[in-house]
């Protein structure tokens, strides 16, 4: 390469092979998919937690997503399509994020040692993301597959039966922690990665973001545990009638009439 050209303006880069544009796209796509999934996760938690208000509220939310209030008829298939999309996004996000995982044992050992000696919160939180991300790769896939194939089973009784009688609650319990930690840390990291909400004093903003992240994580964990507990309770009480669909209170026939 012409060294004079290098020193001066032209940079001497005109004749070099151009760098691929893919790293930029992938970096962006990883963050974008993470953002969508993170926000979805929070929304999802709000929707399922409506069980804490009442079974009717949860039933309404379910029916809303099945298009019942718009179309007048339930189309659980709508849910399947959405779930399929989320599953695709999860796989896409996992594929992109996996590039950053330790690629071999040496890298793994190095990072473990680094994390231990540095005792640095953000570094440790990244490792939390790696571990939870790894777990979610399996757990989310199982959960989403189930939802995609049995969208009609979502409901106050359907979900509760799955949690209790279907013995999904251990998975959900672990997944709750994994997803809340992974998503919470991920959303915080997106902010510092892209410089969002940075303001004038980046250090002060970061402290606030970090605090907000922990508050939200705790909030969603509490909400999630309460919700899971609620489903477990309903599922336990409903264990004899597994498979029965919930009928909202206003549609239940007069008490004197016998069911069936």
């Amino acid at each position: 390469m012409n060294s004079t050209q290098n020193v001066i303006a032209g940079v001497g880069l005109a004749d070099r092979p151009l760098k691929s544009r893919w790293p930029a796209r992938m970096d962006f796509a990883q963050s974008a998919s993470g953002l969508v999934l993170g926000l979805f996760m929070w929304g999802h938690m709000f929707f399922v937690s409506t069980i804490l208000i009442s079974k009717d509220a949860m039933w309404s939310v379910t029916k809303f997503f099945e298009g019942y209030f718009v179309l007048g008829v339930s189309y659980p298939g709508v849910v399947s399509i959405v779930v399929a999309g989320v599953l695709g996004l999860v796989m896409f996000h996992a594929f992109l994020a996996m590039r950053k995982f330790p690629a071999n044992y040496r890298q793994y050992r190095t990072f473990i040692g680094h994390r231990r000696f540095m005792a640095h919160e953000d570094t440790t939180l990244w490792w939390v993301q790696v571990v939870t991300g790894f777990l979610l790769f399996f757990m989310a896939a199982v959960h989403l597959y189930q939802m995609m194939m049995h969208p009609g089973d979502i409901g106050p009784y359907g979900s509760a039966d799955r949690v209790w009688s279907g013995r999904w609650w251990p998975l959900y319990l672990v997944m709750l922690f994994a997803v809340e930690l992974h998503g919470g840390v991920g959303l915080y990291r997106l902010c510092v990665k892209w410089g969002w909400l940075e303001g004038k004093d980046a250090n002060a903003s970061r402290r606030k973001l970090k605090a907000a992240k922990w508050v939200l994580t705790v909030f969603f964990l509490v909400l999630g545990l309460a919700t899971l507990g609620a489903y477990m309770k309903i599922g336990y009480e409903h264990r004899a009638q597994v498979g029965e669909k919930y009928t909202p209170a206003w549609a239940v026939p007069a008490p004197k009439e016998k069911a069936q």
């Binding site: 880069l13 930029a24 970096d27 990072f111 680094h114 640095h120 570094t123 410089g195 940075e198």
Partner: protein, 247 residues
């Protein structure tokens, strides 16, 4: 009334290893030293070398926190030894050489070679429009605020703390580190450098460059000069993504 306290006895656990001694193995060696008022690791290490172990290797140059020679891991974290006061540390202090960089011996590592490689790779100099500068003429004007902004990023002392504190750099040897990304941000800001984002993309537009950064912010938190690395890397990432998705 200030309480008169007995001086502490400090125990230094220092990672010793001289790769040029056949059969030598990395080991932690302990030294004891009575703490003195205002004692820094510069003072302590020199005292150990003068009085206890003449073979102990370490690097100091300015001993004032401005040359970047004495970076080492102090109780696990990278930092400048010369300006670390022992009174801010516990009675047992563990010192190890910076990781990532080639070990010379004990606490001495070859940051110079790494930094030179980084500079050559990222071409960390102003790429002027023309070589001939008319030295007789008044210099080109620059907005005072811009000059100060450039200086803010120009304060990097290439000590290597950001590299040693970076999870990515620890795992991937080809990563340019915050020091490199900050330099690119610095030249990008400088109107005297005629390079464009297209040129910078060629330098850092990959996973060994800005897209390799996972935003662990170890760099930002250990930088002895408190450089705004978080902000600069985020800024560079946005610009490079824009450049990379433009076409």
């Amino acid at each position: 009334m200030a309480e008169v306290k007995a001086a502490r006895t400090l125990t230094f656990k220092i990672l010793r290893y001289n790769p040029r001694v056949p059969g030598d193995k990395p080991r932690l060696q302990s030294y004891q030293l009575e703490e003195a008022d205002g004692m820094t690791l510069f003072i302590a290490l020199n005292e150990i070398r003068d009085k206890q172990d003449a073979s102990l290797a370490f690097d100091f140059v300015c001993r004032a926190g401005i040359c970047g020679s004495c970076a080492m891991t102090i109780d696990g974290r990278p930092g400048l030894a010369c300006r670390t006061l022992t009174k801010n540390l516990g009675a047992e202090i563990t010192l190890a050489p910076l990781p990532v960089f080639e070990l010379i011996a004990d606490l001495s590592v070859d940051t110079g070679k790494w930094m030179r490689g980084m500079s050559e790779r990222l071409q960390t100099w102003v790429h002027m429009k023309q070589e001939e500068i008319d030295l007789k003429r008044i210099e080109d004007r620059m907005d005072p605020d811009l000059a100060e902004e450039i200086f803010e990023l120009d304060r990097c002392i290439e000590c290597g703390c950001c590299v040693a504190g970076c999870g990515t750099a620890r795992m991937r040897e080809d990563f340019v580190g915050a020091v490199g990304l900050n330099k690119v941000a610095r030249f990008r800001l400088d109107p005297r450098d005629k390079r464009t984002d297209d040129d910078y993309y060629e330098l850092v537009g990959d996973d060994a460059g800005v897209f390799g950064c996972m935003s662990l912010l170890g760099c930002h938190d250990v930088c002895p000069k408190q450089l705004p690395l978080q902000t600069q890397i985020a800024f560079l990432r946005r610009k490079m993504v824009l450049q990379g998705t433009k076409g």
